[in-house]
Symmetry: C2
Subunit: 356 residues, 2 copies
Amino acid sequence: MTKVPYSARPKTVADVARAANVSKATAARVLGGYGVVSDTIRASVTAAAKALDYRPNELARSMTTGRSGIIGVVVGDIENPFFSLAVRGISDAAKASSFNVILANSGEKIEAEKAAVRLLIGKRVDGLIVTPSESRDIGHLRDIHRSGRPLALLDRALPDLDVDTVTVDDREAAIRATRVLIDAGHRNIAYVTAVEANGHEYVDLGQIYTSSVRERIDGFVSACRDAGVDRPERHVRLGATGPRETRRLADELLSHPGRPTAILASDSVIALEILRAIRQRGMGIPNDISLITFHDADWTGVTTPPITVIDQPVYALGHSVAELLIRRLNGQIQPPERLVLRTAIITRGSVGPPHP
Amino acid sequence: MTKVPYSARPKTVADVARAANVSKATAARVLGGYGVVSDTIRASVTAAAKALDYRPNELARSMTTGRSGIIGVVVGDIENPFFSLAVRGISDAAKASSFNVILANSGEKIEAEKAAVRLLIGKRVDGLIVTPSESRDIGHLRDIHRSGRPLALLDRALPDLDVDTVTVDDREAAIRATRVLIDAGHRNIAYVTAVEANGHEYVDLGQIYTSSVRERIDGFVSACRDAGVDRPERHVRLGATGPRETRRLADELLSHPGRPTAILASDSVIALEILRAIRQRGMGIPNDISLITFHDADWTGVTTPPITVIDQPVYALGHSVAELLIRRLNGQIQPPERLVLRTAIITRGSVGPPHP
DNA sequence: TTTAGGAAAGAGACCGGTCTCTTGTAGCAG
DNA sequence: CTGCTACAAGAGACCGGTCTCTTTCCTAAA
C-alpha cells in the first residue's frame, strides 16, 4: 500500500509540472487529456501526478470550459417513490452519457423551486430538469431557457413554455380508471389529489395550475359526467399535500353521511393514507369501499386485497426526459419535443360493486 | 412584468461595474456583500445588477473562497425508503445551516462509491457523508479525511476510520427481534440480509465487511445460540441485493422441506419481496410463517396482518450525521464522535406461534 | 495650520484549470 | 546545404469571482 503524504492544500497542475520538470501547459495537456504530448513526457507527468496524488479541480475546469458535466434536477418530493424512481431513470441516462446529477427538492413550493433553480444556475449546471410546481409563476423557468441553458420538464407540461417535455396521458388515465369504477356500478366517486387548496373547495379547472393535476381532474370529471353523474365537480377533493392533510381529508370524506362508495387517489402516498383511514374505521375493501390509485407503488401488490392501480412508466419518464436534455446538451439542434407516455391499468382486487 | 433581455453570455461583475461606472472591486463588494461601500454607490450598483439580470457565478466564487457550500452525500440506494428518509434528514439539517446537498448513488458497489467520492472531491464539496459499502477497501475514504476535508459516516461504522459516525444499535435490535420470535416458540428462524455473497453461503463474521450487517448477524446468531438453537449460522442467508435475487432466495427458503417457521428481514425492501413470495404460495402470516423486518416502512402498517418491525430513527440518523459534519465545517474542533441511536420494536400482527 | 486617521473607491494579483499563440527543433524534399 | 513543414513544448492570457494593497479625500485633533 502506497503511503499518500498528508497535504492540507490539494496539488495543482503547477505542482505536478514542477515535479515533472515541464511547463504548466504541458502538464495540463497530459492531465486534461487534450493536445499533443510525447510519450516520454506523458509518462513522467503521469508518474509525478500519481506521486503527488493529484486530483483535478473540477471547479476550475468547468469555469474555463463553461461546462460542468452536471444536470440539475428539481423535483417536488424526493421521498415520494414516484420521484425517486424517476430520478433513477434520470441518473441512469445521465451516467450513460457521463453526466452527473445534482438533486434539489422543491417540496412543491414555488419559492423553494425558484431558490433551487437559482442555486443550480449559480453552480453553472449544463442543463435542468424540473417538475414545475405551478404554471402561473414561471419567470424563473423562462429565464433559464432564455439564458441559453437547456431546460426540460418532467411529468408536468407548461403550455406557455415550449421546451422538451415528457408527461403521461393523465387525462386518458383518469378516464379509464374512473370508467372502471363506473362500470362496477359506482356513481358516488371521490377524487383526492395533492394540490395546494388554501381551504378552498374545488370549483373548476381555472383554479388548478399544475398540468397533470388539471388533466386528471378533467378526465375524472368528464368520465363521471358521461355516466350521468350530477355535478361531479363536488367530488373532487384538493389539498392532500402531506400525510396529516391527507388523513384529515380522508377522515372527513369517510365520516360524511353521503360518503363515496369509491375513491380515486392521485398518487400512492395519498392512497396509503386513505387506506390507513379506511382500515382504522374497520371498513373493508372492496366490500365497503373501492379504491384505485395512480402509480404502481411496490406495496400496492401486497395489501389484502391488492390495490388496482394506474401503472405509469415512471422510470421511462425520467430516462427519456434526461435523454432529450442530453441530446440538446450535446449540441443537437431540434425543435422542442413533447413526449406523452402511455399508462395502463393493472386490475387487482380493490374494486367491487358499490355498497350503500 | 419586467422584460429580461436575451443574453447568451451571463453577466459578470465587470459588466455590472461598467454599467454602474464603478471599479470591478467596488461592484464586487456590493454584489458579494463584503467590505465597505457608500449607500449611494451601493444603490446604483444594485440597480445596474438588477437591470442586467446579474447572477453570481458560484463556481468562480467557490474557487477563490475555497468553500462551495455543498455537502456531498454518497448513499447505497436512493430508492430504498430507508435512504431517502435519511437523505431528507440530511437535507433539512443542511438547509438550516444554508448548505446544499449533492447526492450520488453507489448502488452498494465499491467501485461506484470510489468514483462518486472522486467526483465529489473534484467538485470541491466542503464535506462528505458516506454510507461505506465495505470496510476492507477504504483508501478513498482515508484520503478524504487525510486531505483535511471532513467526512462523516452514516449507518455504518468503520473501526479503522476514526471520524464522526452515526449508527443504530444494530446488534441489540437484532437480539430483541430474534427474542420476540424465540419467545413465540420459534427455533427455526431465517435471517435474510442484503450483502454481496458471490454464491457463497454464510460461514462466519469474517466474511462480512459492512458493520451494520455484521452487528445484526452477530446479534441474531447469539440470540439464537442463547436459546439453544443448534448452529444458527446456517440460518443466515446472504445475497438479497436486489428484487430478483431476493425473490430467488425467498422462493428457495420457502420451498425447502425444513423451511423456517419465521423470517427476520434486514430491510423493508427485502421484507416486501419475501412477503410477495409468501403470498404467492398461499401461505398465511402469522399462521404458516412469522415475519419481522428492520425499518418501519410506511406500507408495513397496512398489510393484513400488519408487520412487526424494528423501528429505526432514520430521519434522526441523517439529521444528526449532517449536524456533526456541519459543526466541523463551521470550524469547531472536536474529537470524532460515534453516535449510536436506539431502535425500538413495534409489535403488530406478523408474529405467532410456529406451525410445523 | 499641520497632520494623523479613517472611510471609500480603485488597481491588480490570485484561485486552478484551459487554450491560443509563439518558439524551438527535427525530418525531409529539393 | 537550405527551406519548408510538422510536431512538441513553453509563455501567458483568460474565466469570474475574492481580496490585499494602494490611493484619494475628508474630518478632526494638536
